[in-house]
């Protein structure tokens, strides 16, 4: 394990184009119009967000569409301040699980709108159970980052 032999440095890049399909197209069209859509399972009545084509548990097609609240409660958060190759979001950032009001699952997004440079300061502000509100980007592209982040109310 001590002696190291030659290595080769190489990289793989592969191109993809993925279909959103009907349900998610509608969800992201909503994002472009600053609306967050969920839909309802006709069997267990849970409101899932993002909207789905089917309920993973009841295995039936989802039913009614609902525009859900843009405010919610912080369930869990992770202050991330390390970097790796190919990281899609620039650190530091806070990944957060948010229970949007009136929904039955947690929505994963970013928590922002506060100074993230000092972790100890962040820790004083960010608490599980706090209320958060979506902040929209001005340049919306029917993409998950049309919401810039959720900020403390």
């Amino acid at each position: 394990m001590t002696k190291e032999f030659r290595t080769v440095k190489t990289e793989i890049r592969l191109p993809y184009e993925l279909a959103y399909g009907e349900t998610w197209t509608r969800f992201f069209d909503g994002m472009q119009e600053k609306k967050i859509y969920g839909n309802t399972c006709p069997k267990c009545n849970r409101v899932l967000v993002p909207a789905r084509a089917f309920c993973p548990r009841c295995f039936v097609d989802m039913d009614k569409w609902v525009e859900v609240s843009q405010e919610g409660t912080l369930i869990a958060w992770s202050y991330t301040n390390y970097k790796y190759y190919g990281m899609p979001t620039e650190p530091p950032f806070i990944g957060a699980l948010i229970r949007l009001d009136g929904t039955d699952v947690n929505f994963l997004h970013l928590l922002g709108g506060i100074d993230l440079s000092n972790f100890e300061e962040v820790r004083k502000i960010v608490k599980n159970g706090m209320k958060l509100k979506a902040v929209w980007s001005d340049d919306r592209k029917a993409h998950i980052m049309d919401i810039k982040y959720f900020k403390p109310v």
Binding site: M1, R57, Y79, G95, L108, L110
Partner: protein
């Protein structure tokens, strides 16, 4: 149910940063070790199961092709099982079902990973699709730190106590690894070292986290007929359980974590285990993060929900405790992911056959092996016993 199946031999590589060997050579090292352990030859083997993490990890796809020779699989039936981080236990389960079905008598299971050749966190980010989750899942640590926060918040466990208990786990596992010749990280650490190490994703710090390891593991599963014929000391498979839940991280409860609870329950039911803390002699829990290990203790019924930090600090799960967990040093000290679950199985087999050497738990007869995978999504369990 099915034909009885036993593990009759295991082989591991010296895990670590293995830039002294190519990837196929690493695989071969584990395979040669299991043949040495059992005295069997490749001719004896009826089938081979192989598995690893996704192709993005080392940049080679469908590695059963590349390793056909290293695994001595040429001319043999093959299966390729992959379930993300739980791959190692899923490989073991494929080998178990294969032998139990009657379609084979001796099956070689091989798990492998060479993480130092790729970029593990970048790979894990591709587990998330680019529509919703990829932007927020900060590799594995981000997911697990959110999970541990939800857990402590649910039961109102004081932050200091979980911090101490997690540090205690880190210290004891790092100590344990010194007695395991194959372990990757051999480092003497103190409670203070852990608590002052760099924050990765709060509350997870550097010494709460497993390393990136290169390593492979090979295990031979045998039918009852072959166990008798070969006169090998068997580690009988007494129970197998596996559960997975939704892809969307926010869809299911990760504290009262049904995928973990039900996977264990399925295996316990088969093994006839009612009180796991009393009946199990040792457990090899998949613990890439100290905090998460405690959550597993609770979900596997080793203690009540929310109770684990107290028991950890009392030493219940140390090598001299009531139910020793990860006496090998566990995933925290060695994590070649595609092999890791199979290493848990191999370590459990070594324990119940009395072959674990310096980290043997005296008199161990019944052991649990576990692996976890996906975005906190999958759990697999295998129970091994010295008696059928």
């Amino acid at each position: 149910m099915g034909r009885p199946v036993a593990i009759i031999g295991v082989g591991q590589t010296y895990h670590g940063r293995r830039m002294d060997v190519s990837y196929p050579e690493l695989v071969r090292e584990a395979v040669m070790a299991v043949f040495k352990d059992t005295g069997l030859t490749p001719d004896d083997i009826d089938g081979v199961v192989s598995g690893t993490m996704p192709s993005m990890m080392e940049g080679i796809a469908l590695t059963h092709f590349y390793f056909a020779d290293a695994m001595q699989a040429v001319g043999k039936p093959i299966m390729k099982t992959e379930t993300c981080g739980s791959t190692g236990v899923s490989i073991a389960q494929t080998a178990y079902y294969w032998v139990s079905s009657g379609a084979a008598d001796l099956v070689l299971a091989v798990g492998h990973e060479k993480m130092n050749e790729g970029n593990s966190q970048a790979t894990m980010t591709t587990v998330a699709e680019p529509f919703y989750q990829r932007y927020f899942i900060s590799g594995a640590p981000g997911v697990f730190s959110m999970q541990s926060q939800m857990w402590t918040a649910r039961y109102g466990i004081p932050e200091e106590k979980t911090r101490d208990a997690a540090a205690f786990i880190s210290v004891t596992h790092h100590d344990d690894a010194f007695d395991n010749p194959y372990a990757h990280i051999k480092l003497k650490v103190s409670m203070e070292d852990v608590k002052n190490s760099r924050i990765i994703t709060y509350p997870v710090r550097l010494l709460d986290v497993c390393p990136n390891s290169d390593g492979a593991c090979a295990v031979i599963f045998a039918s009852e007929k072959m166990v008798k014929k070969l006169k090998k000391k068997p580690a009988w498979v007494r129970g197998v359980g596996y559960r997975g839940e939704e892809y969307f991280f926010g869809d299911s409860d990760k504290v009262v974590w049904e995928a973990a609870i039900q996977a264990a329950q399925q295996a316990y039911d088969q093994a006839g285990i009612r009180n796991p803390r009393k009946e199990l002699d040792v457990a090899e829990v998949y613990n890439p993060f100290t905090f998460q290990e405690m959550l597993f203790y609770e979900c596997f019924g080793f203690c009540e929900l929310g109770e684990s930090p107290d028991l950890v600090l009392k030493g219940t799960f140390t090598r001299k405790g009531e139910l020793p967990c990860d006496p090998s040093g566990g995933t925290l000290c060695t994590n070649p992911i595609g092999a890791t679950g199979l290493i848990r199985v191999a370590e459990a087999a070594l324990q119940v056959t009395g072959k674990a050497g310096a980290h043997q738990i005296p008199g161990a007869k019944l052991a649990l092996a576990h692996a976890m995978g996906g975005v906190d999504q999958f759990n697999g369990i295998m129970i091994l016993g010295s008696e059928l």
